[in-house]
Every structure is written in C-alpha cells, then in structure tokens.
C-alpha cells in the first residue's frame, strides 16, 4: 500500500465520505450555469465569426456544458479516474478499463468551499477543482479514484489531502527532464501506476489492451493535428475559444466519439475554407501562453477575443499541448509500448514545472513564426510560480524575435476584468501600429 495511504494515524474522515456525498447544490449548480453562460457568451461574440456558424461545434458545447456526457458517466459501471494534470497517461487508464476524466477546473465560485480545508495562497486551479469535489459538482465528484502527478508543490500536498476523500495514486515526476537519468525512474513510476490501475479495475492489462488504447488515442491525436494544421493554413476559420472548446470537450468525452466529431468539424471547416480562404480585414492573430485557461473560467480568452484579436495558437496544457504530441511506439511489445507512453508523458511536455525553459521558448517562437502572430499574451495565473519565473526569459526571447509581449497577471476571480480589457486593448493597438511588417496576411494595419 502506498505510504500516503497506510499511515492512518492522521486520517480524518472528511465530509463528503465515499458514496455519501453532501452536495453543495448551490456551488454545483452555479458551476453548471457558468459553463452555459460561457457558451452563450461565445455565441454572443458572433462578430468574431467562426463560432456560431459552425453546427459541428454544437456537439462540443453539449459535452462541456450539457448533461449528456455526465449522464453517461453516471451510468457507466467502469471506474472513473480523476486526473489532475496532463502528465498522467490516459491510455493506461483506458487500457485498464477505467474512464479517464481530466478534472482541472477554474470555477471561482468553488474556491470558498476549498478554502475551508486548503489555505488561501495556493494555486487557484487546485483550490477550484478541490472545491468542486467537496461541493459534489460533476464530473469530479463522479470519480472513484484520483491520480495526481507531482508536477508542482500544491499538487504534492493536494495528493495527501485527497486521500481523505478518494483513493489517490501519486506519480512522482522528476523535475529534470533528463532522458538518460530520469526516464528509468519515470518508467518505473508508470509501471507501478499501471499495476494500481489493474487492481482498481480488476482487469489485467496486456499487449492487446495497450495496443488498442494507444491506437485509439493516436487517432485522437491525429484528428487534433489535422485541426491544428488546418488552423495554420486558415487561422480565421475557428476562433481561439472554439478550438479551446474542442480541446476542453476531450477532458471528459468518449475518445472515439470525440475523434469522429472532430473529423466532422474538419469537414465543415474545409468547406468554409474553400468559401473564405483569406482572413477578414483587420485580422489580428495572437499567441496565448502561460498557465492553463481552465473551463469554465475563460475570462482571459474572452477579453482577448472580444477586444478584436484571435487566439490562433496557444501553448496551454488545457489547449493545444494536451493533444499535440503523439505516443510514438518503436516496438510493439508490452515493455516497448509502456516505454513509448512513458516517454510521451514525460519528455514531450514543455510545462514550466520542469527545470529547463528552453523547449518552451522554442515552442513559443515556432508557433509565433508559423502562425505569423502579432503579439504574444502570457497568462500568468497568480501563484503559478514556475510560469512567473519563466516570464523574464520569455520577455527577452520575444524581444529578440521582435514580437510584442503582454503579461497578464491575474487570478481566477472576475474583479479585474475591466483592467484586463484595458490592458489588452492597449496592447493590441500597439501591435497594430508596430507590427505591420510582421504580418504576411491581408488586412494589416487596420483596427477592428
């Protein structure tokens, strides 16, 4: 039994206990409302185009804001495993017969509930998610177990706190992304994780299950990459929030169905692209980087897009970088597949929680060049220290690249929306004036 579970001396039975949750109806209902409100807001911003006119997006809206998927999760007998980060391999959860549910959420209304247990000055995403759990909001409260990769400090302690609520598994993430020295450690962690999953579901995971899971999630990645490539060619067809919506739906949705729906969306987008190959006048592409923009709190994305810019690319772990990297299997033996999985979930991410910053800087530069962005906006969530600590370097790197950078220090609360709006609008004006030479698309130099 893992250490954090067997020492029972300091366990306190917390409310809600397993299976007898006291649902804080208010918070849960507000969270649902917030989700629907966000969808409505995206429709209201139809002046952006690329959202309401796409029927294929309705499916994704229903997944994130409707009850359909939640009903399926309620109905299924397979155990649902709450994943608190991108570092936990979903393929393994699926191969073991459980349902992976990524639960990172940014609803501000549940923070008060969380602060009864957690302190005030920690990552607001951790508090929000934890608060949703204790309030009984779905989907996090539907989960039977939790997996916490130790990517940053609040998650480390969260793992201990969570053991009072859910069976929790911890995956130790080495802070160095060293292929030679740290991969063996990580690989052994992944193997232990798999063993725990097998115990959880009672099913053994062999070569066949791994192959099928990897295949399924590979097709998901391929669909996402097709979408990414299309957005690179026609960045104006799908708004940034539309793309984030598609990715957000993958947090909870059934993988095969999500993949199919993305291909349907792609077919529609290609049709649109044939009709409208050039972006409209005044098209202002920006790159969004930094801490996760967590559903349903898309305050920053709303502010940016309603100010007239398009988030054409992002490096968010709740956005592109959740689905961009595939699992590359070299040899289809069990150990080969496990190694490929472990490698993808360890070596491919560019999260600031690692020591090295170089790969994330490279990614920002690559996306900025490929998408011809006018500026980069860094979403620095308060108390996300690794992101803050990389900001100086980011500033210098982008200065050398001659791309303007805007750093938005913000919290999950909605008090500073007006401030953000002002700053973003000023920034966009500045990029429009200064950045005519950078853009190679039509419509340069014109304001919305």
């Amino acid at each position: 039994m893992p250490l954090w579970e067997f020492d029972q001396r300091y366990r306190r039975p917390r409310v809600p206990a397993q299976g007898a949750r006291v649902r804080d109806e208010a918070v849960a209902a507000e969270a649902r409302q917030a989700a629907r409100a966000q969808i409505a807001r995206m429709h209201a911003g139809e002046a952006q185009g690329g959202h309401a006119s796409l029927p294929a997006l309705t499916y994704f809206e229903e997944v994130v804001a409707g009850d359909g998927r939640l009903a399926e999760l309620r109905a299924t007998s397979a155990p649902k495993v709450a994943l608190f980060c991108n570092f936990a391999p979903e393929e393994l959860v699926h191969a073991a017969g459980a349902v992976p549910v990524r639960v990172c959420a940014g609803f501000p209304g549940s923070i008060a509930a969380a602060e009864q247990v957690l302190p005030r000055d920690i990552c607001p995403l951790v508090k929000s998610t934890f608060g949703l759990l204790t309030s009984g909001a779905e989907p996090v409260s539907l989960c039977d177990a939790a997996v916490v990769p130790l990517s940053c400090d609040p998650k480390t302690k969260l793992a201990q706190v969570l053991t009072d609520y859910l069976p929790t598994w911890v995956i130790d993430l080495p802070g160095r992304r060293d292929y030679v020295r740290d991969m063996p450690v990580w690989l052994s962690e992944i193997r232990e994780f798999l063993r725990w999953l097998e115990k959880l579901t009672g099913k053994s995971v062999g070569r066949r299950q791994l192959r099928e899971s990897i295949g399924l999630f590979r097709r998901r990645t391929e669909a996402f990459r097709a979408l990414f490539n299309l957005r690179r060619r026609y960045p104006h067809l799908l708004s940034g929030r539309g793309a984030l919506l598609v990715t957000q739906a993958s947090f909870t949705d059934d993988v095969a169905r999500w993949t199919d729906q993305v291909w349907a969306l792609l077919a529609e987008l290609e049709g649109e692209g044939a009709r409208q190959p050039e972006p409209p006048a005044g098209f202002l592409p920006v790159l969004l980087t930094g801490a996760p923009v967590a559903w349903p709190n898309w305050k920053v994305a709303n502010v940016i897009e309603e100010a007239g810019a398009w988030v054409v690319a992002d490096t968010l772990c709740s956005g592109t970088h959740r689905l961009f990297d595939p699992v590359v299997v070299d040899e289809w033996t069990t150990s080969g597949m496990l190694r490929a999985l472990a490698l993808r979930y360890f070596s491919a991410p560019i999260c600031p929680c690692f020591v090295q910053s170089a790969d994330r800087m490279d990614r920002v530069i690559e996306l900025s060049r490929d998408f011809h962005v006018r500026g980069v906006i860094s979403h620095n969530l308060r108390l996300c220290q690794p992101t803050d600590m990389e900001t100086t370097l980011l500033r210098e790197v982008l200065k050398e690249e001659k791309i303007p950078l805007l750093v938005l220090q913000t919290d999950l609360g909605l008090e500073d929306v007006e401030q953000l709006k002002t700053r973003v609008e000023a920034f966009l004006e500045m990029t429009v004036e200064a950045g005519g030479s950078r853009s190679e698309r039509a419509g340069e130099g014109k304001e919305m």
Partner: protein, 370 residues
C-alpha cells in the same frame, strides 16, 4: 475500428515514401551483390582452382583465388571471403593489414585509399546503415527478434564509449600486428599465421560465405597454436555477433573497426542530418528509435547539423519524429527527406449522438462575466 500497426499513417503516402523501405531494399540488393557476387566472379574469371602464393596452406585467410568483380575496397564490411571468389577486393581493414604486411608500395595502395576516402566522405556512415552486408545479416536477426515479440537492451553513453574504444583497439592492433609481421622481420615462421589478423577473427569471414552457400575457405585449422587460437576466437566472435544482433539491435556497430574507419568521415560529410531547433520539443522519440542508442539527436539544439561519428544514417529518427520539418536529411544543403507527422483520415461513418437531457435555461442572474 482499424487496428493500430507500426505502419500507421503510411497509407496516405504509401510505403514507398518511407526511408525504411528504401533502406531495406538497399540492404537486400547490396547483400545480394556483395555476398553472391562472388559466384558471378568465380564463374566469370576462373575455370580452375588456383592458389594464392602469399600465405601458407591451411591458413584461415586463404582466398580461393579469383578476380573480384570490382577491384575496390569500399567502406563497410564487404568481405572478400565470400563464395568461391569475391565481389570486391575486400574491406578497408583487409586492405590496410594486407598492404602493411606485404609492404605494398604507396603507389599500389593509394588508388584504393582514394576510392575509400571518396566514398566515405560523400555519404559518411550511410554505408554502415544501408549497404554493409554483415549488418544486413544482423538486421535480419533483429527482424527475427521483433517477429518473436522479444525486447532488446540498449547501452548508455559510457558503454558506447568503451565499445568505440574497443574499436580503436581492434583497428590499431590490426595495423600494428600487420606491420610487425612483415616477412623480412620473420625470425620464426609463426608470425605468418597472423596474416590478416582481423580477418581471421572477423565474423564476416565465416558468416558471409556461410550465407552464400559455399562455406568459408577454412572453418578452422589447428595445426599451429596460433591458428588454433584464431579459430576459436573467430567462432567466439561469430557467436557474439549473432547474440548481439539478436538482443541489442546495432550494438555491434559500435565495435566494428571498419565502421570506425568510415566514422571518421561522418562529421564533415556533405550528407547531413539537420534539426530545426525551434521545432523540436525533445520528446525523445528519435532517441528511443535509434538502433545505435544515440541521444544526441534529441538533446542537440545548439548546432543545426547533427552528424555524429556513431550515426549510421538509418533515418529512423526522421521517420518517427512527430514534428513536421523538424529533422531533415540534406545532401550538400539540398533536402532529401523531412520528418512529417502522418495523419490518417478515417473513413466516414455515422456520427453517434450524445445522450441528451432536457436543456436548462440560462438564468438571468448567472455570473455571465465568467
């Protein structure tokens, strides 16, 4: 649902566009030429057996005399002890050890050296990855391993350095011994049993003619203690070769002195493996796929050119890299192969619907500012 295979994403481009197909084809064609070409040479040039005069009878390195099809010493282990004759004159180590022993004048050896240097310079260690018949045989053993579903082991940088040091030792030792056993230095005749010292223990001497169907010119001789030692050593090395290729992919190529000679030309060759650093996120797929267990393709971002003395240019890294245009193979700055993430568009099917419940209305006082 289509089952996942190792050839995902190949259907849109076809298998003909992968480096892997062309490499296997090249290995098969060159293997056929270098190993079975000896039969052609034997038929074309010799109707009767003849003896070479240089070495005593019963030596392990007696070549059944006939002319080579191509009088050259190309890079890689193109063994001259193939069936009944030889397709080429031999490998570079054989050239060096023979010419040192018989004290061939520079005028004799220079043309061969020039050909070797030119071929090595042009494409570096591509010869090891695409042409070498010994490693083609080894890759066949590796394919057996994969077909059986067995895993492999790989070694870290420290062991690779040791193996390369071993290659230097083999190469230097061969050169030194060849020089020392020159005939005018004979005090006794036992040195003559050391003629072509590396050839005597090289697995190609036994393996290539075995595969060619004629058997080596000598399976082993025990008339002299040195001969006996060399016989035993050659069988041990052959066994080690087979075991290594079956369990550790291309580990053997770190030790090969012929590969060592070609490896000096890898860095600086016009055939370059180039990485665009901003497109790489160090995901490590290349390092895992590399049969030589090299990690520099993953880690190196400061220099664009990734040539390394140990890279055999098999292009597995370019094949598996999941980023578009990240790794490129270039010859004299002209791109030949680029890495590409292959997306397979699935066939159209009826989209399953999400189960629906009654939709709730948005409340007036909902926190719309979210």
């Amino acid at each position: 649902m289509t089952r996942p295979t190792a050839t995902w994403g190949l259907r849109p481009l076809g298998v003909l566009r992968t480096p892997r197909f062309w490499r296997r084809l090249a290995q098969v064609v060159f293997f056929a030429f270098f190993v079975y070409g000896g039969w052609v040479s034997a038929v074309a040039f010799s109707s009767r057996e003849a003896r070479e005069s240089v070495v005593p009878e019963g030596s392990l390195v007696w070549t059944q005399g006939s002319l080579p099809l191509l009088d050259a010493y190309p890079p890689s282990a193109v063994c001259r002890f193939t069936a009944r004759g030889r397709a080429v004159s031999g490998c570079i180590v054989a050239l060096l050890s023979e010419s040192l022993t018989v004290a061939a004048s520079a005028r004799v050896v220079l043309p061969y050296l020039l050909v070797f240097v030119l071929l090595s310079f042009l494409v570096g260690r591509l010869w090891c990855g695409w042409v070498c018949p010994l490693s083609a045989l080894g890759d066949f053993l590796n394919a057996l391993r994969r077909w059986l579903g067995r895993g492999f082991f790989s070694v870290g940088a420290e062991w690779r350095r040791k193996l390369r040091g071993g290659a230097y030792g083999l190469f230097g030792g061969t050169v030194a011994v060849s020089w020392l056993i020159r005939p005018e230095r004979y005090k006794a005749t036992w040195q003559c049993w050391l003629f072509l010292p590396f050839c005597q223990v090289c697995p190609a001497r036994l393996a290539c003619p075995l595969v060619a169907g004629a058997g080596p010119t000598s399976w082993g001789a025990f008339t002299h203690p040195v001969q006996a030692f060399m016989t035993v050593a050659s069988w041990a090395v052959l066994g080690l070769f087979a075991v290594t290729f079956v369990t550790a992919r291309r580990l053997w190529c770190h030790l090969c002195p012929i590969g060592l000679a070609t490896s000096w030309f890898n860095r600086g060759s016009p055939l370059e493996l180039v990485k665009e650093p901003t497109r790489c996120n160090r995901c490590g797929a290349c390092a895992d796929a590399c049969p030589m267990s090299l990690t520099h393709v993953r880690d190196e971002k400061e220099h664009a050119v990734l040539n390394s003395p140990e890279c055999i240019l098999c292009l597995r890294c370019v094949e598996v890299c999941p980023r578009d245009d990240c790794l490129t193979l270039k010859f004299a700055r002209l791109p030949i192969v680029k890495s590409r993430f292959k997306v397979t568009r699935p066939p159209r099917r009826v989209r399953p619907r999400l189960t629906r419940e009654k939709k709730e209305e948005v409340r007036e006082d909902a926190p719309v500012g979210v």
